[in-house]
Symmetry: C2
Subunit: 363 residues, 2 copies
């Protein structure tokens, strides 16, 4: 089990305030509570230098007792409302910090009306602890990458012209999820073909298309292990690749390889993005690479640091990020190649290994 | 396609303000944008009496053009930040309403600093439009119930002592998702056995248990059709049912049937809950029914109205709710029976039909 108490101490040591409050309602912030306590359900967490209190209701009490250690669990139906204010008043230490990106405006308004302590908005103090991964977290991310890639490897031979994106996506997710240790897929898989490959967040489950010869076929997917999410993209050609597809693939591959070759601790998110972006601009496709080069992965599939022209982050050893340049031609198709890497002092360790050195033809 | 423009007019006619703003960042409020426009991606929505504007970034522009009709789509990377403020200032109508339960404290703070219009917190003005379902929405919910129940029906014969909760859950979700029209499962399925059946939000994917003779076996699951989510629970016995299991099952069944028999438009959420709760209290298990009797279903698996001792809602024709009494004995197991019903003027229409009249023995 991770050392949750150490994580809580790190959090408090970064804050001016001596109390931090967070909640997970309707599973909108599972990551924060899981990171700080191991608890995966809904509830409100109150961390003070002297003690940690988890308020939850009868649906989760037994689960919380099994998942946590060394924290006080209180059962109350009112934790989303005035139960939280009562708990804060009982601890009686002011001011109290909270993550303003993680609470609703309504919650804050209610709490400010209902409790006597002063509430101080911080952007997301837990994110800055989570951003550098512990060895056990890197191990989970590596396992999540291996499980996802093994599933894709088993699936590739089953791809045929005439089957649908949905059939492929269901099979891919089945192969991931049946693996021991995979508690879930990392996020809803994007399996897109032909012109759909230019839609960055395509869902193959709503109006699935059927594979045709000459299609690009893109997989953006991952596995979830111990809550940690891999995020991988590979692009194939169904049958013989067109010259345009090959040209775009080679450009994206060069951008991917260059960023992986040169990224290291101390580099900014802007600089890292620029390594790949300059190559794509030089290749004449600057207007067809609309998103950033990458983002952190961990308990959430999108977390810090950001690698993009607008990033304010600087890379440190132990951060784990995606490297995912892409070129998208609306109405025709797109290519993205995405790896997951651990930043080190003088470079990075690539934890994904699915072949990518040429546009593989399948089907 | 639903009449999204009519929905937007209904929303504005309920507001004092002439402008409403909503956003879906990291898929935390897909329901609001999908309900009001058909768009299923991330972006910021601005509804004014004269026009509707959707701000989104290049990852979603093409998708938004395909999914929506009659709204203006603007591409900007800055929609989660100052792009939103600029758009509000450009429309130039003040005040602007937003749903305080749907925005983060951070977003509100940023917007109040960055734009000149006055922002007025409303709890969730779209929820009060969504709470009564249109005929097409009821049709989607019915189809979502049928798909889920047919999957369970096919699965039941495959259940054997010695297989794991995870194997069963994966198979159930596969059967749902492979059905034409099912775009997803409704939520992560709870397939729990033995003592795990008392954990209301159990996940079979983390540390799955293997079925044993004499276990209770509980399924809480659903399908998602056109975005609409069914939510169904059935409880079985693995092999011969114990006398305790039968006794609890019969009590929960009586509570379920009584609530379905008597619920109708005009009744409050508190009254509806009390029908089932009084029977369970009389049966000596009042302390073992910790959650409310039910909740609305629709584009979200938990929405209004609430059926519970703390509900402030009154039922109206066209609302669709779950009826899900349960009795849970910590460490031993629990029984829940959950149906989905459409409220009518003089009763309700039950849209779930999986057999429940006795504790079915499987395996």
């Amino acid at each position: 089990m991770p050392d949750h108490a150490r994580r809580r101490r790190s959090l408090l040591s970064n804050l001016e305030e001596n109390v931090f409050v967070a909640y997970n309602l309707e599973n909108h912030d599972t990551a924060t509570l899981r990171y700080l306590t191991g608890f995966t359900g809904e509830g409100l967490l109150l961390i003070h230098t002297d003690e940690t209190i988890l308020l939850t209701d009868s649906r989760y009490t037994e689960q919380a007792q099994g998942e946590t250690d060394g924290i006080r669990i209180e059962e109350t139906r009112m934790w989303p409302g005035k139960g939280a204010a009562e708990a804060l008043d009982r601890v009686g230490v002011s001011p109290v910090a909270f993550a303003s990106t993680r609470v609703t405006a309504r919650w804050l308004e209610t709490m400010r009306d209902a409790c006597d302590v002063e509430l101080i908005a911080r952007k997301d103090p837990v994110a800055s602890v989570r951003i550098v991964k512990e060895a056990s977290e890197v191990a989970s991310l590596k396992r999540a990458a291996v499980i996802a890639e093994e599933a894709l490897g088993r699936l590739v031979d089953e791809i045929r012209v005439g089957i649908s994106e949905k059939e492929i996506a269901l099979r891919l997710e089945w192969l991931i999820r049946e693996t021991d240790g995979a508690e879930q897929i990392a996020f809803e898989s994007n399996v897109s073909s032909g012109p759909n490959t230019s839609l960055n967040h395509y869902s193959p489950f709503r109006h699935p298309r059927t594979l045709q010869t000459g299609d690009l076929l893109l997989f953006d997917f991952g596995a979830c292990v111990d809550g940690y999410r891999s995020d991988i993209t590979r692009t194939f050609s169904v049958g013989t690749a067109t010259p345009e597809a090959k040209e775009i693939y080679d450009l994206v591959l060069r951008a991917n390889l260059a960023a992986i070759e040169r990224v290291k601790a101390g580099m900014s998110g802007v600089e890292t993005d620029a390594i790949a972006r300059e190559l794509i601009v030089d290749g004449g496709h600057g207007d067809h690479f609309g998103h950033g080069l990458g983002h952190g992965i961990g308990l959430e599939v999108h977390e810090g640091p950001g690698l993009s022209p607008r990033s304010e982050d600087t890379l440190e050893p132990g951060m784990v990020v995606t490297v995912e340049p892409g070129v998208y031609l609306p109405g025709r198709g797109g290519v993205r190649i995405e790896d997951d890497v651990v930043i080190t002092a003088d470079g990075c360790e690539v934890i994904t290994s699915f072949p990518k050195d040429r546009l593989i033809e399948v089907g």
